[in-house]
Symmetry: C2
Subunit: 200 residues, 2 copies
């Protein structure tokens, strides 16, 4: 037996789909799983299988929830004049942790990436429009990753939303990470930090 | 909702058990799983749950197999005078890939690590004895990782096997990795390479 058993190979091919996991790490994970106690494996695979039902997305904003409507959409305490557009329900937790934003959220599940088959139609712009109609939104804050896909999607959204002159469209600032040293900052970041300099 | 849903937290706590996976990576994996198509999640969790049955260990040598007896124990072509003791069924594949070893294998599932609750009784020395009795073994090759646990377990095994003077007990050589440059070799490796120098 110089080749791994078929079921193990199948397991490895799934694990390889996780972000940052190559063939070596996937193999390591698969062998690790084989060593887990049977009850742990069962509990874990049960959680996995049921994750989409047990941790559904809010039908309105797309944030994770464990109820029918998420706490942001339910809460009367959020500022309904601001709408923050993010690309993953995960980003909500990072933004909430800052305690600096009290507005609403809207998750578009994919950033534009035509090569990976993620086209403009998948952004569901109609749902964003719906939310802008329903709430007295005055500012849309675009909070995407600083990547090619994030930049492209932000530009696309801006072009779409510019049709509403009453709406302020903003994007997260680019610049020095807090605590960083100029010596280690890449040129792109420093250029954006210079261009976006603030009166002090 | 500033905390993750309970099911997602449970999923993350399982993922954190994988080697080299911290809280951030576990979270990233969990959110990635949430985005997988339902059928992929089901197939993957099914594979996981059934892995111990579908990819069992050979009851004799402990290597992975997909039949009742593994190909090493079944094969008549293996050299029954050599027994290679390894600490994980995974290591078989690395050793077989060298095409330099044709003997038998024996997997001890744990290296000694008293702090982690892995004691000498878990090495199942009786099973190693059984195999030495059953085959005309003349050499036991210890092929453990070069770690504190690997060294400890190798010493322990050696002390145990020394009671059989007819048996040669060897361990994988330590020295320079092939293709390495002396400049980057750590002191410990260089010391072992010097001590184990060969007539040239």
């Amino acid at each position: 037996m110089e080749k791994l058993p078929a079921d193990l190979l199948a397991l490895i091919s799934y694990l390889k789909k996780l972000p940052g996991v190559g063939i070596r790490t996937a193999e390591r994970f698969a062998f690790e799983f084989l060593g887990w106690p049977k009850e742990d494996l069962e509990a874990f695979s049960e959680l996995l299988k049921n994750a989409p039902e047990k941790v559904p997305s809010c039908p309105i904003c797309g944030c994770l929830t464990d109820r029918t409507k998420c706490s942001f959409c339910e809460s009367g305490a959020r500022d309904t004049e601001q709408l923050c557009i993010i690309s993953s329900p995960r980003d909500v937790f990072a933004i909430e942790a800052t305690r600096c934003y009290r507005g609403l959220y809207h998750v578009i599940e994919h950033l534009l990436s035509p090569l990976d088959g993620r086209h403009a139609s998948m952004l569901r712009l109609d749902r964003i429009e719906d939310r802008i109609e329903k709430h007295p939104i005055r500012e849309v804050i675009i909070a995407f990753d600083s990547t090619l896909e994030g930049d492209t999607t932000a530009l696309f959204l801006k072009k779409h939303l510019i049709a509403r002159p009453e709406l302020k469209v903003s994007r997260l600032a680019f610049g020095l990470p807090v605590g960083s040293s100029l010596e280690y900052i890449d040129g792109g970041t420093l250029t954006r930090a210079l261009a976006g300099r603030q009166i002090f």
